[in-house]
């Protein structure tokens, strides 16, 4: 048990150090650019651009931290919130890995499997983008070809179709209400689309946990 604690504690300690270091480096990047090219940002446009972007992104960002931490595990969280693409890549990758290894996200085995899967996914993504950047000139016509465009645009439906089969078939009773609620919301509320799905994820999670709790208490699960 003591060793158990020490692994988790070290994950948190190093996660904090790496995370904050990278945050500082990223924030320093525009400053250093200003110094190198001896220029200042256009403050009027900056405030206008921030006003249009920041409130929504910060709201989503804060909500995402609280929603995804329990699913990603500690190591997975520290990596994912640096490397990004959580809902469309890292989390499905980790969920699939934990499912196949038959471990729970809240156990230490789940923590380790999730961390391995997300670390590998981050490394592979980074390497693919590096290769792509080096070969950008020959690759551009392929990546921008109108034939392939729909395939890349439809990555989320293709991804969640597969994941849904696994999880809905495993939790048939529990999935009825959440799936119904989400279908109704997305079909009948026009404001809900690709841009706002991030805000709805925590709603879906909270609702499903609530339904699960009630069904569990009533002995239905």
């Amino acid at each position: 048990m003591k060793k158990n604690l020490s692994y988790m504690d070290s994950v948190h300690r190093y996660g904090k150090i790496w995370g904050l270091t990278i945050a500082v480096i990223l924030l320093a990047f525009p400053l250093v650019l200003s110094i190198i090219f001896s220029c200042t940002p256009d403050y009027k446009a900056l405030s206008k651009g921030l006003f249009a972007t920041l409130p929504m992104y910060w709201a989503v960002g804060i909500v995402e931290v609280f929603t995804y931490v329990p699913m990603l595990g500690a190591g997975g969280t520290y990596l994912s919130f640096v490397t990004g693409n959580i809902s469309n890549l890292k989390l499905p990758c980790a969920i699939d890995a934990m499912e196949r290894a038959n471990v729970k996200a809240s156990s230490e085995e789940g923590e380790v499997i999730s961390t391995i899967s997300i670390a590998i996914s981050s490394i592979v993504t980074t390497i693919i983008i590096i290769i792509g950047v080096i070969l950008i000139i020959p690759l551009t016509p392929i990546l921008e070809s109108p034939v392939l465009e729909p395939a890349f645009a439809m990555i989320l439906p293709a991804l969640f179709g597969g994941l849904a089969v696994v999880f809905i078939s495993k939790n048939l009773k529990l999935s009825v209400l959440p799936v119904l609620l989400m279908l109704i919301l997305f079909i009948f509320v026009p404001a809900l689309n690709a841009g706002t799905v991030g805000i709805i994820v925590p709603v879906g999670v909270l609702f499903t946990v609530l339904v699960a709790r009630i069904m569990y208490k009533k002995g239905m699960l």
Partner: protein, 258 residues
């Protein structure tokens, strides 16, 4: 120094930052692998986790690369490379860059030549995604210990709780797939494309799962998700040909209602 969106010095800086990010992943990977051994997790399980995670990542990573190419027209290569390797996701970054360029009165397709405009765009993109970047290292431990308090008491509930979280997230994305079906009544069959793509991917996943258990092909379960992902994506090409290009613009809607 002479400014250009593809200036070597920007490449070098971005290269350094991405190396640090890569180092973090390697650091956590090595430690998790060590811990997996101590926990007696089978090495075959670890190997499968590694290979299927890597294979699964390829298609989504190429989609990210498409985002880099799209943004590179106005922002050059290194900035989209950085923004999409670190925290960024395609939808967020495209919008953030678009908002910044609009505020500057700069078209999205023209290459930036003024360093002050470039720095402004970098600031907007960086500050906009800073919330979770700073928050995650600060609150993860607290959230986890809170979760443990709820979870540890009742084993069965903690398992249901886990499944409920994943299911909640998946149901939100399932709903999202249907977000454009109302347009069908206005004559836009495009709204069916994501629904059909999801259907194909789901059917494939189910078939692969059945094959794997019935014929006892173990490796099939490890690659079922990446296979159905790719088949689903490929089917999108077909459905787009049938239903028409996916983008439903406000202008198209106005034309119909007018």
């Amino acid at each position: 120094m002479e400014f250009s969106v593809n200036s070597p010095i920007i490449y070098i800086m971005v290269g350094i930052i991405i190396s640090v990010v890569l180092a973090q992943s390697v650091f956590f990977l090595v430690r998790a692998l060590k811990r997996a051994k101590e926990l007696n997790i089978k090495s075959s399980t670890i190997k499968k986790t590694i290979s299927s995670s890597a294979i699964f990542t390829i298609a989504p990573a190429i989609a990210v690369l498409v985002g880099v190419v799209a943004l590179s027209k106005s922002l050059g290569i290194p900035l989209p490379w950085l923004r999409l390797s670190v925290i960024g996701s395609i939808t967020y970054e495209t919008v953030a860059a678009g908002n910044a360029l609009e505020a500057l009165g700069q078209g999205a397709g023209t290459t930036i030549t003024d360093p002050s405009i470039y720095v402004t765009v970098v600031w907007v993109m960086t500050l906009s995604i800073a919330a979770s970047l700073i928050l995650a290292p600060l609150v993860t431990k607290k959230i986890q210990s809170g979760m443990n308090k709820i979870g540890l008491k009742d084993k069965k509930w903690s398992e249901i709780f886990n499944n409920a979280m994943f299911l909640g997230m998946i149901s939100a994305f399932l709903g999202y797939v249907f977000c454009d079906v109302t347009y069908i009544s206005k004559g836009f069959l495009q709204g069916l494309t994501p629904v059909c793509v999801m259907g194909v991917s789901a059917v494939f996943m189910a078939i692969l799962g059945l094959l794997a258990t019935k014929l006892k092909i173990r490796w099939l379960t490890d690659y079922a998700l990446p296979i159905s992902l790719i088949v689903g994506m490929a089917s999108a090409i077909l459905f787009t040909n049938i239903f028409g290009g996916y983008e439903i613009t406000t202008q198209m809607l106005q034309e119909v209602t007018a």
